[in-house]
């Protein structure tokens, strides 16, 4: 699991970067970062929901707590990538 990427700490609170907009799409959402002008594609509606609700949870781990093991790992990896690309930021 690459949640050890520098900077990303799943034990800390995170939220969607205020400079990022999420556009709903049939497959999930398109995320656009107005600062870096980068596009990302969130390919699962569950991931979109997770990202939107991130700031309601005290930590990232708490936000994914309801998921089963293999899925939890996949979503944590996705969140780590989103943190690397500045799409989500420490709350």
């Amino acid at each position: 699991m690459s949640t050890d990427s520098p900077g990303f700490d799943p034990a800390a609170p995170y939220r969607l970067n205020p400079r990022v907009a999420l556009r709903p799409e049939p497959f999930g959402a398109l995320a656009y970062h107005f600062g870096t002008r980068k596009l990302s594609f969130l390919k699962a509606p569950a991931l979109v929901e997770l990202v939107r609700d991130l700031e309601a949870h005290p930590t990232v781990l708490a936000a994914v707590d309801h998921l089963a093991a293999p899925e939890k790992d996949r979503y944590l990896r996705a969140l780590a990538t989103l943190a690397e690309t500045d799409m989500i930021v420490p709350a």
């Binding site: 907009a21 556009r23 049939p26 594609f41």
Partner: protein, 379 residues
């Protein structure tokens, strides 16, 4: 499902919207895909363009590619650009460099969400001006120098690949590097006036291989607008990009009079989806029967039996259409040489705003014998 398969079914709004703001242009490039030159009297007004920008903001279209014609000849160009970027619609505009003065360059650097793309079709004055016209090379280079001097890092230098400039790929890269810009190369299309020069200018089979090999080596730092996916059948390395025709799915064009076409290379009634004046842009994007059809699975036609179809996807719809080829079947530049070359009915182009040829002033016609005394002239 793979993301690319999702894209084929269309998105809620385009990712890459090209929007031409005028047909007017100071140049008369021989390969102009929109046959630009003269302004169309029915072009969208300032207020109409702002209304479409408002709609794009609501649809969350995060950036648009503005072109023409030469968009900066619109007197309201800077006002509209400012309006877009302050309404969450970023702007990348294509220009031949005409209005990129040192002052404008400094203003552009200070504006968020703006990117500039300078067109250059030859790495030397001779090759460029043969296509784009006398003086156009110097104009483009001066614009690049002004942007670089103002500190505009990473603007784009955009090259349409032709038989004459494929050997200059390295030189184009060097020019872009010299001005701290990023090189973008795209495919020549037989669209607009491009149809007139297609046979002479489109790269040879050997040059297509050269483009492919060069992109495999340098592709990570070079943009292509995904326009060379038909070359993927040349090797096992897929070129960077989506590798699909995005027409009506993730891409479309709004032309200067508000007509919406499936892609920027298809200004023709066969690809007209609607007009923003009638129903707004969103409704055309969502409800056009043409776009619905393009979002259905497409037939491979004559390509179905070719093992490379997955790699090349049959190539470019517009390139096929304007060379008289069936849309379900090989691209005219099919690297396997499978495209028929005879018996093709080339369709007429759509709108033509080309500059009118100069006509010498004077008598419209002179009688063959100015002093013919006969009271009757028979032709």
């Amino acid at each position: 499902m793979k993301l690319v398969d999702q894209f084929k079914k269309g998105l809620s709004a385009p990712i890459c919207l090209t929007w031409e703001w005028t047909y007017a242009c100071n140049l008369s490039c021989t390969h102009c895909l929109s046959s630009s030159g003269r302004r169309d009297p029915k072009e969208l007004t300032t207020a109409e363009i702002k209304a479409v920008i408002d709609e794009l903001q609501r649809m969350q279209v995060f950036y648009v590619n503005i072109g023409g014609g030469e968009p900066t000849v619109r007197p309201d160009f800077w006002e509209l650009m400012h309006y877009a970027v302050t309404h969450d619609v970023g702007v990348k505009f294509s220009t031949n460099g005409l209005r990129i003065t040192p002052l404008r360059a400094r203003q552009l650097v200070a504006t968020d969400y703006v990117d500039v793309q300078i067109s250059l079709d030859g790495a030397t004055r001779e090759v460029n001006d043969a296509v784009r016209g006398p003086g156009s090379y110097d104009t483009a280079i001066a614009a690049m120098a002004n942007l670089a001097d103002a500190g505009f890092a990473g603007f784009k230098v955009s090259v349409v690949m032709t038989r004459q400039n494929v050997p200059q790929l390295g030189e184009f890269k060097a020019i872009a590097d010299r001005y701290g810009a990023q090189l973008r190369i795209t495919r020549l299309r037989p669209s607009g006036r491009g149809a007139d020069v297609w046979d002479d200018l489109h790269p040879t089979q050997g040059q297509q291989r050269q483009i492919y090999d060069w992109l495999v080596r340098h592709g990570d730092n070079v943009l292509t607008g995904d326009s060379f996916f038909h070359l993927n059948a040349l090797g096992s390395t897929s070129l960077p990009g989506l590798n699909l025709c995005g027409a009506g799915r993730v891409v479309c064009l709004i032309d200067p009079v508000g007509d919406v076409y499936a892609c920027p290379f298809a200004i023709h009634d066969a690809f007209l989806a609607g007009n923003v004046r009638e129903a707004g842009f969103g409704r055309v994007w969502r409800e056009s029967p043409l776009f619905a059809q393009l979002r259905e699975p497409q037939s491979a036609g004559a390509c179905a039996s070719c093992g490379e179809y997955d790699a090349c996807q049959g190539g470019c719809m517009a390139a096929k259409f304007f060379t008289g080829l069936p849309l379900a079947g090989p691209d005219p530049e099919c690297v396997k040489g499978n495209a028929p070359t005879t018996g093709l009915a080339i369709p007429a182009q759509g709108k033509d705003h080309s500059h009118r040829k100069r006509v010498a002033l004077g008598m419209p016609s002179v009688p063959a014998k100015p002093c013919d005394p006969s009271p009757l002239a028979v032709r």
